[in-house]
Subunit: 308 residues, 4 copies
């Protein structure tokens, strides 16, 4: 190892993290013959005294990623999975408190929802499921031994208003040819993250399951109930509705691709298209991103949402 660069040379180590990503854990809970499922994808990222493993290759402070995998599965047995958030809290606390070199743990979870299959009899519905397949629920728990940060959210929730959307009164420069729209389809695939103001063990934790259901409901209702002059305005209304109704949440970040539905020109074929036939386009797409936050609070969710 004599030829390995050491500190003092021009290149130094900056922020770093490591762990096992995408542990696909399924937890079955039995209440007599009735089963319940939690279906998660769990990713762990640890930081701390990790200079030597980068500089010299010494693993003396490195808990293997294989071990973080085992911990995820063992904790699913030991603690169960009440909610994605609570499960992430158990894991993050464990890594930071049990390993001296680890100073910070971040646990990310994707959750896939299932619903029971409706059957003709009664017995089978107790343990037969079909995956809901709509949005993916997300959470990220970060702990540094002192303060907690929980950011939850969702992705892949596709919504559409088939009217009550305009786009006009915008800036026109020499590259502008777009005609103003007085009645258009507004559709998007919602990716959202919301940060809880719960930061520590002294504070009572939110009911994570209820919080998710209610936040999702407000988001959808705000989309449906807003007469839209722009996707930006609809975005703000979705965020404001959450901030107004959910006191446990201080900040919401959205990434909203404008899924363009172009009215097809049928005039060459002698047909009038009175907002009836649309082409759903792929690329390019408008992309609208913004944070809505409780007045006086600081924004902490990064501008670019990552997929997992």
């Amino acid at each position: 190892m004599t030829d390995i660069p050491r500190p003092g040379r021009p290149a130094v180590l900056g922020q770093n993290q490591y762990g096992k990503a995408e542990n696909r854990v399924v937890r079955i809970t039995r209440n007599g013959a009735t089963h319940h499922i939690k279906d998660l994808n769990v990713s762990v990222a640890l930081s701390g005294d990790m200079d030597e493993v980068h500089y010299s290759g010494s693993n003396a402070t490195v808990l293997p990623t294989d071990t973080t995998k085992h911990t995820v599965f063992a904790f699913a047995k030991e603690y169960g999975i009440e909610s994605a958030e609570q499960f992430g809290i158990h894991l993050a606390r464990h890594f930071v408190t049990s390993q001296e070199p680890i100073h910070r743990a971040r646990v990310r979870v994707e959750e896939y929802a299932w619903e029971r299959i409706g059957t003709s009899g009664a017995r089978e519905a107790e343990h037969s499921f079909v995956r809901k397949g709509q949005e993916t629920r997300l959470t990220q728990v970060t702990y540094d031994g002192d303060t907690w940060e929980v950011v939850s959210g969702l992705k892949d929730l596709v919504v559409m208003n088939s009217t009550d959307s305009e786009f006009r009164g915008y800036v026109k420069d020499e590259y502008t040819t777009l005609p103003e729209a007085y009645d258009r389809i507004l559709a998007t695939e919602v990716s959202a993250r919301w940060r809880f103001n719960w930061t520590g063990d002294a504070q009572e934790a939110p009911d994570w399951e209820t919080s998710y259901e209610e936040t999702r409901r407000h988001l959808l209702q705000a989309f449906a109930e807003t007469y839209s002059f722009s996707l930006q305005q609809t975005l703000y209304r979705m965020g404001a509705r959450i901030i107004d109704h959910r006191g446990e949440i201080d900040e919401v970040r959205f990434s909203l691709p404008n899924r363009h539905h172009f009215l097809v020109d049928l005039e060459p074929f002698g047909l009038e298209n009175d907002n009836e036939v649309y082409l759903a386009a792929d690329r390019p797409y408008g992309l609208i991103e913004a944070t809505v936050l409780r007045d006086g609070r600081e924004a902490r969710i990064p501008a670019d949402l990552t997929n997992l």
Copy 2:
């Protein structure tokens, strides 16, 4: 074009087809303030007198794929979209009957389901939707100017039984180490196609919408209500249930990946795993494929299902 090979040379043309694939058409129907959506992905493939375009590049018999695209959008206006099947029938009939060189048309459709957003008020729910995001509905309509073939189906429907599944009594050779399982998770992502016995205009057509809903229901119930000794047996029961209950269907083909859920060994950590914690694996996976058909009828769905 003098150096272009002609028939008589060793290489000759075989089966061929062409057309515009993946036309993403969204059709809005208004019933007063209440809107209805049909959201389809339509692919057209035409065959006929197409030797010259291959041999010499003469396009004299070729209707451009751009024209097949226009036809899809124009027909969505002219005929509406009652069902994916009915829409495919309109299109296939048009191409075969209006263009002399075209002898056969195949129209494939993917359909994406939407449901209304539940709102606090009443007005908005009329035209605000969220994509259901579960299975994708499929149909394929083929017409040769004489006989119709309609094959419908679905893909991406993920189901799970958390118990009532065994796998034992199988062949053991020198490469077999698998222990027998008396209680395992059985999960799969259903890809299914079913062929209707409707073949012509003289016969009354099925109610395509009802047929889809009922076939999907029987498929799910058979999955839920079968105590499984193998995925093959579950497959057969799903197919048989459809054949037994849906007289309009003569043949069902399934492609069922066995989405393995491995019981995690927690003994090294002093924990017993009593069918509670599973690892959901990606690859490799068992793949079970079979046709179930009405006795006396001929199988026509290809062994390998294609994605679109």
Copy 3:
């Protein structure tokens, strides 16, 4: 098991197959310090006396898919991997000859190419690789105990001619608005399968590695050297070149999406676009599919190519 339907009831079993799909096997061969890689994705499908497992759930004739997985990895050690085709032949022969209930085996292989990393020194290049990342090589070997069928090919090979392509002289109906093109981009993502005329052990087998390299070269050269009047004509020329030059191949099937590159209208901005700036579109796309075969031979490759 008393209530399980048996033959005699309306629903009967048709074609069926099963096995372990997508076994990702990497085989390293060492020639002193110089290493060689074969990186495959192997899928096995077996057919035979499998009625009972479908009808009653009896696994008495079923070799577990877990065993087919073990066999793939064990054979990679025992026989090495000379070529994807040869490896598939070893596996198919084994399943059909060693298991009485199995009458037919089909082995599909995807192969990913790697190239050596160019280094400043000499030692490391011997076992350091970067994935080539261009096309995926494919083969499918089928054996019924008597006759062999080998179909090889490739997918995801993206090619473009930036000139020497026209499209004109086509049929115009009431839905046709497309202007004729005298100089356009022709681009496609080649998916091809070719069937060898090698069918049995008495016949000398082709040199599979050389055959692949030469077939790929002819396909690319024919694409580059054809002045195109339609994608159909280019397709035929690619197939004919292979049939003309590779005596071991009797049939080629292509699936060629027309990756449209639309000339962008820059006139509204006072700019002339002399075939310089294009928008690469996603959907919809023309899809051209055809078989080219040696005169007098029978076509056997299915019209719809499957992805794996």
Copy 4:
């Protein structure tokens, strides 16, 4: 618009940006009969005086995303595409300097490489191409009217060392069962971003094309030439090599999934596996992320790399 929430209410707007994403522009340049291709995917994000469009839906300061699309295509004509970086600089400067409400522009570019098809003749190779299909080149240009930031990089570059990799001497806790490895495969899919120290027009800009080629070469060579004790150490060596050799770069961020290749246990089948046969696994995977930066410089690349 009377019922729309205004500032003063609890929910306020935070960071926001908008624009057209994924404009797929292909630029052909002709040098006589010899053509050259640039194939890009360009995404524009603009920020500035955008409060009103979020709060009230007034679009008075909003340049439509449709206009940003036109600008991308028009600039491909007007300025050509020397390099992804230079093209991004043209665009970012335009938006910030031509539109008073826009204070900051960020342009992201993906670039796909093509190589010429080798032909038997000479004429065709001049304008016939095959997509290289290896890594995707990336750049992100940000401009606030004053200072420039250019971060370039790549993704999807898959590399493997088939020996010269160990993993041992790590921490063992109660969830650790991993045996130490003295000779293993080390494989990863490199995602890297590097930040240039060029920040303004007074400074001479790097030769962007040469910089990319050389940085990529150093990255690959460092991977190949490092005897690895951990993926962290290999990561650091890759970054340090770039910092040492490329004076124009101050910071490198890597995200390296450990693409596990597990040695298959063939003992149950009476076979010894002397580092010859591996299973390439999908999930879970170790994920190693770190920044390497020039001593004394500040890190600016976010910890979580985004896909585009």
